[in-house]
């Protein structure tokens, strides 16, 4: 098994080490925010432990996934808010 994983973030391929969370992958890819708030402000990870829900993204068409709690898997499609 490879030591790295390739996933897609907003359509762009990103290669990360095995064991990396999606939240970390976003930052590696230069995507500094995961979502837009109710009043359209950029938001990113805050608590790092899955309780604040600020790191939410859509993964494989499932919305509201906490990226800090999700490990990257080969072929994953991650979409953030614009």
């Amino acid at each position: 098994m490879s030591d790295t994983v390739t996933l897609h973030i907003n359509g762009r391929p990103v290669q990360v080490p095995q064991g990396t969370t999606v939240a970390a992958a976003l930052e590696i890819a230069g995507q500094t925010y995961s979502r837009r708030s109710v009043s359209h402000k950029a938001r990113g990870a805050l608590c790092g432990m899955g309780v604040c829900f600020e790191c939410r993204v859509t993964i494989d068409n499932v919305p509201h996934c906490r990226s800090c709690q999700t490990l990257c898997v080969q072929g994953m499609e991650v979409v953030t808010d614009d």
């Binding site: 990396t20 939240a23 970390a24 500094t32 990113g44 805050l46 608590c47 790092g48 432990m49 309780v51």
Partner: protein, 422 residues
């Protein structure tokens, strides 16, 4: 019958130090033990990601003990509700699981307290422990300029850890005034292991400015953090940086205990000398009973595990050790108590409820949490008040109304609670 749906002698929820210690003692005493955690691996927050590479003697000891004993471990398993008086409902990636229990030990730990201030919602403002967790799971920190701010020894531990990963730690702002901190340092030196820890951290952070009596008042940046402003109540200083990691201490994760009717409405779960809560057969250990760090968590966990397995005499031998760590715990609480000045951090435009974008100005006019929630939607979003509720408790003294399931956002599939294909 699925492997979860057995009548566990001792069910332990949370696999941080307290939970691991409890599970080990109960299993050693012959009980059939299940140990649950929402994370992928054991260790909780403080030993997050260390299962393969423990970084301390204690971590090494407990990770290997859990491996060696007959404990059924369920990771990626999040307890979401009390399904019935003697069973818990949990969410897993493969579907719901129900756990029947004879004795229950709650060790659900703590989360960081966030105090809102202008700009705190800007990306790259994170928790202190939050940053550490992110970095442990691959978040790139090398070369980034980081300011740490808030309260507690956690700031130092995080600074040390991220410095090792190549972060440039600009400074650490500890809100505790110098005199109180010095007094704590003297008291802490009585606990030898803490003294060594202190020396170790001190050496590794040589050259990092450590400002006592300072706290963050403003974070600036359009969609990304550029600058942080700190204050000591009289002066301000601004620092250009990439990340602000702020943590104002810890608050216990009480929601499950609350749903089980054993939280009692206070800031922590009250337990007797056997670590038993007011609800019979439900025990509690670790940060849930008081913020005390690893050492208190371990001894409390051990006592809870022994008592849940009926080994009261052996548990009693650990009481003096627990007393000693509780003494340290009290000193910590006194030293790092939050200053009144921090209650003025948010201005009227500062977002307090991040899920629904409700500002402090919209909230202060209400009498209590219940009114604010009904009239502003505060606490009605994805985190269900987990973040803002704790902030408002500190800022306005608001206590939470009675809790409702699930413990956190859960799939409807899980709530239906029908186990399939495990």
């Amino acid at each position: 019958m699925t492997r979860s749906r057995q009548n566990w002698d001792v069910l332990v929820v949370g696999a941080g130090p307290a939970g691991m210690a409890a599970a080990c003692e109960a299993a050693q005493a012959g009980a059939r033990v299940a140990l649950l955690d929402s994370q992928h691996t054991l260790g909780g927050q403080i030993w997050h990601g260390e299962q393969q590479h423990p970084k301390s003697r204690a971590a090494r000891h407990w990770f290997s003990r859990v491996q060696a004993l007959d404990i059924t471990v369920f990771t990626r398993t999040t307890v979401v509700a009390a399904f019935s008086p003697q069973s818990l409902l949990a969410e897993t990636p493969k579907g719901p699981l129900v756990f029947d229990w004879h004795r229950l030990i709650l060790a659900t730990g703590a989360r960081e307290l966030f105090i809102p201030f202008p700009g705190w919602t800007t990306p790259h403002v994170t928790g202190a422990g939050g940053l550490q967790s992110l970095v442990k799971s691959g978040w790139p920190i090398q070369g980034k300029r980081v300011v740490l701010a808030g309260s507690g020894p956690l700031l130092l531990a995080v600074a040390q850890a991220i410095k090792k990963e190549g972060a440039h730690v600009c400074c650490i702002a500890e809100q505790t005034p110098w005199l109180r901190l010095a007094a704590f340092g003297q008291g802490a030196a009585a606990h030898i292991s803490k003294l060594w820890q202190g020396v170790d951290i001190g050496l590794s952070l040589l050259g990092v400015p450590y400002h006592c009596g300072w706290w963050p008042v403003r974070a600036e940046g359009q969609d990304l953090l550029r600058r942080v402003t700190l204050s000591n109540g009289r002066r301000e200083r601004s620092i250009e940086c990439d990340v602000l990691a702020c943590g104002f201490g810890l608050v216990p994760n009480l929601k499950l205990a609350s749903l089980l009717g054993c939280a009692g409405g206070g800031p922590f779960v009250s337990v007797d000398s056997h670590q038993q809560t007011p609800r019979e057969h439900v025990y509690c250990a670790g940060e849930l009973t008081g913020i005390g760090g690893v050492d208190a968590a371990l001894v409390e966990g051990r006592i809870a595990g022994l008592c849940a397995a009926g080994q009261l005499d052996r548990a009693r031998t650990l009481f003096p050790r627990r007393r000693s760590w509780h003494c340290f715990q009290d000193k910590m609480a006194q030293a790092f108590g939050l200053q009144e000045a921090l209650k003025s951090l948010p201005d009227e435009h500062t977002v307090v409820c991040r899920c629904e974008d409700i500002s402090y100005g919209q909230l202060v006019s209400h009498a209590n949490w219940q009114d604010a929630k009904l009239q502003t939607r505060c606490g009605m979003g994805s985190c269900q008040g987990c973040t803002c509720g704790a902030s408002l408790q500190f800022l306005l003294g608001w206590s939470r109304a009675s809790e409702r399931p699930p413990v956190l956002s859960t799939s409807i599939k899980t709530l239906i609670g029908e186990e399939t294909g495990h």
